[in-house]
Subunit: 465 residues, 2 copies
């Protein structure tokens, strides 16, 4: 449990970075009869590993340099070739360093890259298989490759040249972009957001290796306290005495249909015999495309949803998932699920067309809306995770609230599309009462109000989940 | 062993379709001290399953209708909706029906299609995993789908409306062509031969189901006797008392570099302690692109190679692999290897850029030349297969023969490219003595001589392996 030891070094008191100030609903008092900090460490570890699903590879990876060695590492880095990280690269360092991608210990070497592309999984030395569906790679260009020369390690720095990490035992291999794109997205059509942002203009080489990260990644945007690491989430779930954790990945405002689904999931888990299922409401916090609602606005909206009591704060943990978004549908939903196993979730809610988007150049969805949940249910390395398919919720006019769609009285239901929601919010109109809590809706209206429409008058579109 | 029973029904004497007439070198007398036919059947079965690698899924699939039920099936078929098979579809029926794709029992349903695209493998009911890297699917168009309506089975007929098979318990699902192409080839560039031939103009639906094949597929091209099924090959390897079978997949003429490699492989296997390693020289017989040397010419060339003693007929089985060619590099090489497990091979020779080709629109190879063998060595479901990487052979001017390349005396070696070989053969010139046996070379010259050059003067190019 070296990773847990690292964790305790990093955060000497039980949960100092757990959200306290933003909203009390986000961090209810521990429900255990004895506070975590009062138990001997060995006992804590046992309880953690007994109660929660085991991380991929058996132990959670954490890749931070021990306090006592930081000076040495910083001195060493001054003599190493430097690679400058983009914003998205830095998000991946964040992801890898906290163990979301356990058992990965750094940016992928070619063997991991190829297994990811071809098999969406990695075979470990003991023959077991873990899921790994999106390439987590670092690109460098010809000049950087020349600069690195025969060095076996490089220093990774941010845009201000601050040292972020050392990458050691490096391997440099060709960045076959077209093949990476085709195998990850199932298309090479121009206009895929992540491709445009992070691949097309990236270097022609990939550099893999093991990470030694100097400090936990922070963004200083007022939201860092919501960025709980997998170890911190596991500790929180243990504090709350969770016997089931169900994760809900989202990158859009929460409406009452989502809330209904989450509440209903808890009900089903209780029926199954679980005593205290905890919801991990887990908005994605890394790169998203321009027409998604930005993280800060989404967090405000989620806050209101909890304040208004739409979700029960006692049984909900809101935290930010630091991964960038690929919009790679059935391939990416596996990553979204796998990362949550590492954070302690053993149930994963999957909806229609997860991580999907419109085809960039054709008038259709990029992915078959049902493929995501099908692929997820068959994916290697995810056998331990319970997949909970999303029921369809819509606005039930007869009840004046969001309800699960009942095909036998189809006429009673109103489907409010992302386009419809966006148009309403932009025009400062209200949706039907019961669609979203009023304070949550107001955040959305305020967001669109804050935008300066482009010349075309086209306003970014928010699509539910 | 229902499949073996089916086999014995199909071929009541031990190996009636094994090549006898084409060239005795192709079918040396059994080397066992007791002929197979004289042993009780139970003993034979035990010996087969003990000596040879187990087929994927534990038993070899064979999907032929029993003789006694043919009449009934034919009558049933007359009342079923009909789907007409293309030449390539028919080749896939051949492949599936003989068990090359064991444990597949028919054209893929969506679950198998998705697992193939995303994971290059199928998870079986017992939790075990078999490799399956290329989609084996049957496309139908809107009109055919309408015609099928609610029927649960269809009749598959050839271009002359002869009944080939019944497909039962059918499932019709969308043919997402772009995604299929991108995930299988790692590109969607126009000009991929199989895509142009079999996907672009194919229907927008796929129909999966279980096959009941009326008769073994025959082509009546004089080469059917070389088309041994996996069961027949297994029987032949057992007759020869093989304790190792090493497969060599090829779609090009055999030169002495290949022969050296195959001979050397046998030597290494003997050194490893095997007493009687048998080579399966296994030219691909299904669809190939227009500029590959056609099967009939390749078979003539291979015949000469054995006649001239370049390969030892005593330890070589030449047979035709009925699969169409995808030219899908690292994805396809897994299929080539997996199918040979089902035919009894436990060693597979893999070369540089297997199943590769030039990029259809860029001036480069489509695949990284090393990816094929890397991906093969990591592929799920192929752990049981021993991968033998291809050593590089070139013409050694100092010895006047093909030899393994020795980088320490680079200047002695001449690499004869496919382009060079083609130019020589087209011009009726001879390659350096020792490059290919003279009679084999003559076949190649005759082939190019038989071609009417196109207006451009461009002649199809033969690329070694």
């Amino acid at each position: 449990m070296a990773s847990m030891a690292t964790y305790f070094v990093k955060t000497p008191s039980p949960s100092p970075s757990f959200p306290k100030t933003f909203n009390t609903h986000f961090s209810p008092a521990p429900r255990l009869s004895f506070p975590l900090g009062s138990k001997p460490r060995t006992r804590q570890r046992l309880r953690i590993s007994n109660a929660l699903i085991e991380p991929d590879g058996g132990k959670l990876v954490e890749l931070f340099v021990e306090e006592s060695k930081k000076g040495e590492k910083k001195r060493e880095a001054t003599s190493l070739p430097r690679v400058k990280l983009s914003r998205i690269d830095l998000q991946w360092v964040h992801v890898i360093s906290e163990g979301w991608s356990s058992p990965l210990r750094g940016f992928m070497r070619e063997s991991e890259f190829l297994q990811t592309l071809h098999f969406n999984s990695l075979r470990l030395e003991d023959g077991s298989v873990v899921n790994m569906s999106v390439p987590i790679v670092l690109a460098i260009d010809d000049a950087q490759k020349r600069l690195i020369g025969e060095s076996t390690r490089v220093a990774l720095v941010d845009s201000d040249n601050n040292l972020i990490a050392i990458l050691k035992d490096i391997e440099i291999y060709k960045h076959h972009k077209e093949e990476r794109i085709a195998r990850t997205w199932g298309t090479t059509a121009p206009g895929l957001p992540y491709v445009d942002q992070a691949i097309t203009n990236a270097g022609n080489w990939l550099i893999g290796g093991d990470l030694e990260v100097i400090e936990p990644i922070k963004y200083h945007d007022g939201l860092d306290r919501f960025r709980l690491s997998p170890a911190e989430l596991r500790e929180e779930f243990t504090r709350r005495n969770a016997d089931a954790v169900f994760a809900f990945q989202l990158r859009n405002p929460v409406h009452n249909g989502h809330a209904l689904l989450m509440t209903d999931t808890r009900r089903r888990l209780l029926e199954m015999g679980y005593k205290n299922p905890i919801l991990l409401l887990h908005p994605l916090g890394g790169y998203t495309k321009a027409d998604d609602v930005p993280l800060s606005w989404r967090m405000k909206q989620h806050e209101k949803v909890l304040e208004d009591g739409v979700l029960d704060p006692e049984t909900t943990v809101v935290s930010i998932f630091p991964s960038p978004m690929h919009y790679a549908g059935p391939t990416e939903v596996q990553w979204h699920a796998k990362a949550r196993i590492n954070a302690g979730a053993n149930f994963y809610i999957v909806g229609r067309d997860p991580a999907g988007m419109g085809h960039p150049i054709e008038k259709r969805d990029l992915y078959d809306a049902d493929h995501g949940k099908k692929v997820l249910s068959m994916a290697p390395g995810l056998e331990r995770l319970n997949i909970l398919p999303f029921k369809v919720a819509a606005y039930d006019k007869s009840q004046g609230k969001m309800a699960f769609f009942d095909p036998s009285r189809q006429q009673d239901f109103l489907f409010i599309s992302g386009t419809k929601m966006r148009t309403l919010a932009r025009n400062k109109e209200n949706p039907p009462e019961g669609f979203m809590c009023p304070n949550g809706w107001k955040v959305l209206v305020d967001y669109y109000d804050s935008l300066v429409p482009a010349d075309s008058g086209k306003v970014p579109e928010a699509v539910p989940v």
